[in-house]
Symmetry: C2
Subunit: 366 residues, 2 copies
């Protein structure tokens, strides 16, 4: 490679560093008059005319990086790929319309396995009211699923990551860290199964979306059956389209919005950068499901760490002036922090009042 002056490993610049460099390469190819939101939000927004906008988002799910077929049933995987992309559409305050699916199939996946995957895709599309418009299928060494989702909204209802202002409150829907808890439980279950000498059940054969880890009684100090919520949140997460619909019904409009796919810490940094504000997250206010706490205890982990740095919760994080929240049902959100001046950066306030800077470290793919 004598004519290659530099070989920089992607790990050296990181995912976001790489994206920045590729965006620079794209230059004008990533700019257009009709594109009203540039690359870097949850989804791109283009003007459809007549007061309507279209959003578009693409996600790639790679075996061994995003999922493990030894414990993720294929039907659940199909569901999750759609739900994760629908979540990006929700994070623009839009409603999903069309879906395309590109599938790379390894030769150890059967026609029946592909059907199970597509059953999950169909069920998620039905749940979220969108239609599979097309796709592509190819052979591949490992299972790869790429999902593109289109969505729509009145242009005035679109909410980006840029719009938070000092003095507003930071809120989330649902609870946090359950997906990370579910993943750790499943990994522990797999470990225990392997240690017991039993082959892990082929995920492909389960088909009903339930966790497929069967632990032999004497090798199972942790009973996965005690934690259905974290397992389900990890395997078949929900996009919060219900909240987007609720907000429309009650006339609520967040000032900024993002989905929690890489943990609260990472998303707080995105809001901070794109809204040019500081963010203070209150550790004591992070909503955590009781089973997530119990799982943390059983695994000797910290539920707060899952909430802050775990991934794939697919809850919505948003900002609004305190008084704007009055139209919302109290159980439809939780206040978890405050938007402050940009100089204050992104920080975590502990229950004892201590304030510490909060790193952005979410889930790292590289």
């Amino acid at each position: 490679m004598s004519d290659s002056p530099v070989f920089t490993p992607v790990s050296e610049v990181g995912e976001f560093g790489l994206i920045a460099r590729l965006q620079e390469v794209l230059g004008d190819a990533a700019r257009s008059e009709s594109l009203t939101t540039p690359i870097g939000d949850d989804a791109a927004v283009s003007d459809l005319g007549g007061g309507r906008s279209q959003v578009i988002t693409t996600d790639l799910f790679v075996e061994g990086v995003h999922f493990d077929r030894t414990f993720a049933p294929l039907r659940a995987l199909g569901w999750k790929c759609v739900a994760a992309s629908v979540s990006d559409v929700c994070a623009m305050n839009a409603t999903p319309t069309l879906v395309t699916v590109a599938l790379g199939l390894p030769n150890n996946l059967s026609v029946e396995g592909a059907e199970a995957l597509y059953t999950g895709i169909a069920q998620a599309c039905e749940r979220y009211g969108c239609t599979v418009a097309g796709g592509d299928i190819s052979a591949s060494a490992r299972l790869v699923v790429s999902v593109t989702v289109l969505g729509e909204a009145e242009t005035e209802r679109i909410v980006t990551r840029a719009g938070a202002a000092p003095g507003e409150v930071l809120c989330v829907t649902g609870d946090l860290g359950a997906s990370a808890a579910g993943l750790e439980l499943l990994l522990r279950g797999k470990e225990q199964t392997l240690a017991s000498g039993a082959p892990p059940e082929a995920a492909e054969t389960s088909g009903d979306g339930s966790p497929t880890i069967s632990l032999t009684p004497d090798a199972a100090p942790i009973d996965l059956g005690q934690f259905p919520t974290p397992l389900e949140r990890h395997l078949m997460p929900q996009a919060r389209l219900d909240r987007v619909r609720l907000w429309r019904e009650v006339g609520f409009q967040p000032t900024s919005l993002i989905d929690v796919s890489d943990g609260v810490a990472s998303e707080a940094h995105h809001l901070s950068i794109q809204s040019t504000v500081g963010v203070v997250v209150e550790a004591g206010l992070l909503p955590v499901h009781i089973q997530t706490m119990q799982a943390a205890e059983a695994l000797a982990k910290r539920a707060e760490t899952w909430a802050l740095y775990g991934g794939e919760d697919y809850e919505l994080m948003f900002t609004a002036p305190q008084e704007a929240l009055e139209v919302l049902p109290k159980d439809s959100y939780a206040v978890v922090g405050n938007i402050v001046e940009p100089e204050e950066g992104v920080a975590l306030r502990m229950p004892d009042g201590t304030v510490i800077p909060m790193e952005a470290d979410g889930f790292k793919h590289f």
Copy 2:
């Protein structure tokens, strides 16, 4: 796998058989009032209102299946992924608008390599007048690129695969088989390089789109430099957006339309099934580039086989009543056959008048 009654290998049902089974699984999830063309055309069509339609198409490109990095420069690969999907938009008689790219990066691909890939993506987008709206990047064992392209057209200008009628003529743009010739040349070049003991040049380092195979003089019975057109057609093919624009200018509207991505034989079968017609292709009328013929001679292959069963030409194949062609410049198309009654099936007429049934065998991914 005791609870899995059947394990059918994908190879047993084939790509199109698998697609049919997955379409059945999708059921209503693939149907919608706004979807005016169902799954199975080059792109899906949805109604935008106001007399406009949107088309959407997704393609997946997998290392080791669709491309070989030892001879496909990354910039060329980026170009090709966009051009191939833009070709599907052209095959609906529409114009591309937005592109999303999902990228699975192996750890042997550098930041500079990813930049070369994106340079090709940007150049193709500039050429075809579309904008990169977003995407996703993940780690992956092997390089994977999934491209989704949106396009638009007035609804009345959309052309599908269903619309050909007996008595019409079958036409193609450009010439055929050049891409297959280019691929065989590159494979032969790689073979020769490996046989000579020299490591193949890393495709990543070339960056300028030219073929990177350097043959040592004594191991090179075939000089790739004699065949620039087939090599370029394979590495950096063109989508025929120029023809779509020309047709609009002169007021020409094909009755059916498909792009030649799997060879004329396969596409003729698609038109036959989706238009419910028979198709007779005239072997003696297939347009073949002089360098494609020379490559066939040098490699002891048949150029007609490449034209009929080779892939990735990305020319447009269309039908029209003979008299409708009068508005078209003579050098913008070639008549290659006739549309006949469905009972006649899909056949090839040899120059001596013999008519033989034509198999659909295009490029097989599985």
